[in-house]
Amino acid sequence: MTAATGRGRRAAPPGTAARRGSDLARHRRRAARLFLLPMAAVLALVAGWPLVRTVYFAFTDATLYDIEYHEFVGFLNFYYLATDPDWWRSVWNTVFFAVVSVGLETVLGTVVALTLNAQLRGRGLLRAAMLIPWAIPTVVSAQMWGWMLHDQFGVINELLVTLGLIGEPRAWAADPGLAMWAVIAVDVWKTTPFMALLILAALQLLPDELYEAAAVDGLGPVGSFFRITLPLIWPAMMVAIIFRTLDALRVFDLMYVLTGNSRATASMSVYARQQLVDFQDLGYGSAASTLLFLIIAAVTVVCITAGRLRFGTSDD
């Protein structure tokens, strides 16, 4: 959050130099354009162009083994998509995954951040431990949890059976009714640290006097959290939530490694890639990709507009 307030206070880049002479300013602007050019060219090549081509392919019957030879088919791919229950299932899976895992991560992340913010020994150790799940590659976390959740030899089944919580071992990753929860469990484990660190950064900006005042007013710890802390860290939390939601909507690795192309968990990204690569149907897969892009773009626009309205009233 420091960065955000810093930007507000020191918004102007050195304007003095620009004022000193319009010649100099013009020179600087020309240099700036030149400096931007390589970055802009690379982004146009690796992002702009491929996106345009993907949208174009969405309206064709191109295949992966022969991209060049294709015909324009209009909205046919989108019609097939709209009538494919597997696609709608993947949309539902993605939305369900995003809402549940981001929700759980926010709650858990807040608990962890509050703990990290308390004055106690071993805080450094705790923060270091929190960074471990964050640093582990998603593929590796999926494999590690896949082994822990193994139906026959998994340590989780063993523990739960020993504790008497379940009667017999479960096939967590293979059972269609449980697989999505297994995926969510891994995601929550992996990304709660990110949430916690962002919330912690916001918490550390709050002055201690706030809590002293709350204690004088007789607010308990729970009361002071909901009445004082939460409203103050809410903007920072919103940023973290938006960030994580956009990330969760494009999830791929986790489902692909933990449960394969299983229909019970396939996200929109998994569905699109399966059509595109496994079934070699480039046109149809591109149509699915394009829809995913539009959905994420829509969510982004809504979030940014909502965020701007919120920040606009509180900030300046």
């Binding site: 959050m1 420091t2 960065a3 810093g6 020191r10 880049p13 050195p14 130099a17 600087r28 602007r29 400096f35 931007l36 390589p38 970055m39 690379v42 982004l43 690796v46 992002a47 162009w49 491929p50 345009v52 081509r53 993907t54 392919f57 991209i67 703990t115 308390a118 106690l120 071993g122 923060r127 270091a128 431990a129 964050w134 640093a135 582990i136 590659p137 998603t138 593929v139 976390s141 999926a142 494999q143 949890w145 082994w147 193994h150 026959q152 030899f153 340590v155 660190l197 962002l198 494009r250 791929f252 690795d253 692909y256 990204s269 699109a272 480039l282 897969g285 990709s289 892009f293 773009a297």
Partner: protein, 280 residues
Amino acid sequence: MRRRRLRRTIARALLHLLVAAIVLYAVFPFYWAVVSSLKAGGALFTVEFIPRDPHWDNYAALFREQPFGRNILNSVLVAGSVVALSLFLAVTAAYALGRVRFRGRSTVLMAVLAVSMFPQVAVLSGMFELVRWLGLYNTLFALTLSYMIFTLPFAVWVLTAFMREMPKELEEAAVLDGATPWIIVTRVFLPLMGPALATTGLLAFIAAWNEFLFALTFTLTDERRTVPVAIALITGASRFELPWGRIMAASVIVTVPLILLVLVFQRRIVSGLTAGAVKG
């Protein structure tokens, strides 16, 4: 008086219990991977929290029976080149975006932000065509090129934020001395940006090291795979009998350097993440 102190002590104990639970939750899966990787043969299928008879067999098999060493080298090469290229392109762009006023500046920033929001799948088919057209399919260059889509916008955002925070007196003095913008970037700002570059580079490195979708799609043969793909595709004698010991060994090898990096650069990573998230 006494009751209040008792309550304080209990609250303290509960807090420490909570800390212990969080640490256990965060660390146990990795610990379990280490333990499993040290078990050979049948020992793998018994639940044992400290291996009674540790073996390195799984680690040896990884390098003997598949090109895992080559996979590690691939990952290092790709992530390293992506970081170097992104930082190089981002530093000059960040100077322009952070310190010069020109028309369309906020448009460029919004465009960069928009690219960082791209779902990778959305560019997959276009990128596939591009990679094939450039003759890069099944080469590491395909990955270096395609990874720029997420490392470059991120680097530009974070470095722009850092550039903005630099005191303007620095630049004014240089301008008075007649320094060109290029000199200002390379001689005035660059020497001061060490920490910023380290943070950005580290986060970009981790992102590239962990990438899976492009690596899975644009490489074909075992020798060209990066580590995440190699780990995801390890298979045993049959489809139903995955060599879990070996998968865990590979997981540990890939994760240990990352954990060391993260522990050493803890503070920087946290500040970089918050800056990136706020800005991005």
